[in-house]
């Protein structure tokens, strides 16, 4: 039996704290890096990407839009990864608005609908009127809903000049000059390519997706089924940098200083894990296992 029951009770908590110490230290480090004033960090450090190939594809797709084009924004982002694509999505919407496009927002997933509502409210707060952006609501039923939307995408309750413009062009997907898919894991742009394109082959589709979807979606860009795709952080940064209407303030993008520190820590951990077996001569067989 222990002599000090209080210290016995504290032992598991202390052990958990010791185990979590590296992660907590990382969080504190990143928080301190975030607190560095943006003008101070920005003078020496700026997140950017030199490769504008895919960003140029998105620019080109938007540049081909006719005057007052109707653009469908299929908003099906995930709650978990939306923070990654949020600056790019906002820049794309700002870009389309600056080009005079009329946007209609629809969702086929519940998470996408929740985020679409939040973004719609944000845009309304920024002064976007019903003649600029229309809410086509939640279509549901995932892929079956997508197929249903091909022949009728405007809900009966939808009102406003954009809803009327879509109705006057048949109320189907052919009414749109472009579809911008804000992709997530539940219903990715792959579903659009597989379900919609075989039925509406002339519909131009561009997409913004989180990084984990890139290997799945890149082949569609090479075949021309997707007109443009932004699916990694560098591609998104390259695009946002080229949009005059985009908000590039500290508030809109991820800070450069914490990203640099985080990557340096990750490199340090990787270097340590690679060098540790070399240091430990007692187990030289580790390196051979992979072969």
């Amino acid at each position: 039996m222990s002599e000090n029951p209080r210290s016995d009770r504290r032992a598991p908590a202390n052990a958990a704290l010791r185990q979590a110490a590296p992660v907590l230290a990382l969080l504190v480090l990143l928080a301190l890096a975030s607190l560095v004033p943006s003008d101070l960090a920005g003078a020496a450090l700026r997140i950017a990407s030199a490769d504008r190939t895919r960003a140029g594809g998105m620019d080109a797709a938007f540049a081909r839009l006719p005057e007052r084009a109707l653009v469908l924004v299929a908003f099906d982002a995930d709650l978990g990864t939306y923070a990654e694509t949020r600056p790019v999505v906002r820049a794309a919407i700002a870009d389309l608005r600056a080009r005079g496009a009329r946007l209609a927002i629809v969702s086929f997933t519940a998470e996408g609908r929740a985020l679409a509502v939040a973004e719609l409210l944000r845009l309304r707060r920024l002064g976007a009127g019903s003649d600029e952006i229309a809410d086509l609501g939640f279509a549901g039923a995932a892929e079956a809903g997508l197929i249903g939307a091909i022949s009728g995408i405007v809900p009966r309750a939808a009102e406003g000049s954009i809803a009327e413009a879509i109705r006057s062009r048949g109320a189907d997907l052919d009414a749109f000059a472009l579809v911008l898919v804000v992709s997530g894991g539940d219903l990715s742009v792959r579903s659009w390519v597989e379900q919609v394109l075989p039925r509406v082959p002339d519909l131009p589709i561009v997409a913004i997706a989180p990084t984990f979807l890139e290997p799945e979606l890149a082949p569609y860009l090479r075949t021309g089924q997707l007109h443009a795709l932004l699916a990694t952080v560098p591609e998104g940064l390259a695009y946002v940098d080229g949009v005059p209407a985009a908000d590039r303030s500290r508030a809109a993008t991820v800070g450069a200083m914490p990203m640099l520190l985080g990557l340096l820590v990750a490199l340090g951990v990787m270097a340590q894990s690679l060098l540790a077996p070399l240091m430990r001569r007692s187990r030289p067989d580790r390196w051979r296992r992979i072969g």
Binding site: R86, P215, M259
Partner: protein
Amino acid sequence: MAAHRMNGLFGNDLGGIAATWVAAAATVAVWSYLVGARTVFRLTQYLLAGLATGYLALLAIDEILVPRLISPLLDDPAGHVALIPAAALVAIMVAAAWLPGRITAPVTGMLVGGIAALALGGAVLGTLLPQIAAAILPAGTARTSILEAVAGIGITVLVVLSFTHGSTTGRLSRRATVVGRWLLVGGIGGWLGFLLVSRLALLVDRLDFLLGDWLGLLR
């Protein structure tokens, strides 16, 4: 409380302030798992599952079932005859827990079969056939494209060989297996680099939310 909203999802009104506090509390509750507070973490999991289920049910009723099924049937039953079997199917699925299997099984089968048919048909028409067509090199293809194709086939064969797990015999095939395995590791490693940047961006975004939106320390 910060007057400046960084992620822009919440307004500066009372609702926005309350939402910011709830979101900050939820973030801290999830991170409490790091220091072993598993009960708090489990509670947040239940909260997320409950909210997601409730939200989905609300969406389904408010934006699908009522406006697209019930209202048209009540307003003009004769004009929407096709919706009557749909309403029957929905009723059977809702009451599935109390109905015998021989009634619910065909409905479930139709549902699963329909989804599978859509997925399979779409995969063949939208992915398989276009990708095969794009992979076939037309006559007069540039030499670089032919080299790319040869390299692609070579890497594919080597990586496929890496999955043979020691069943290959002969010195050459064993070496090819090792090369394939390293190619696989290299590919996954390169990909993890991209994922690391994206996951780090998510973490930094959450920290920025806590420091900026909640505590008002960032400008």
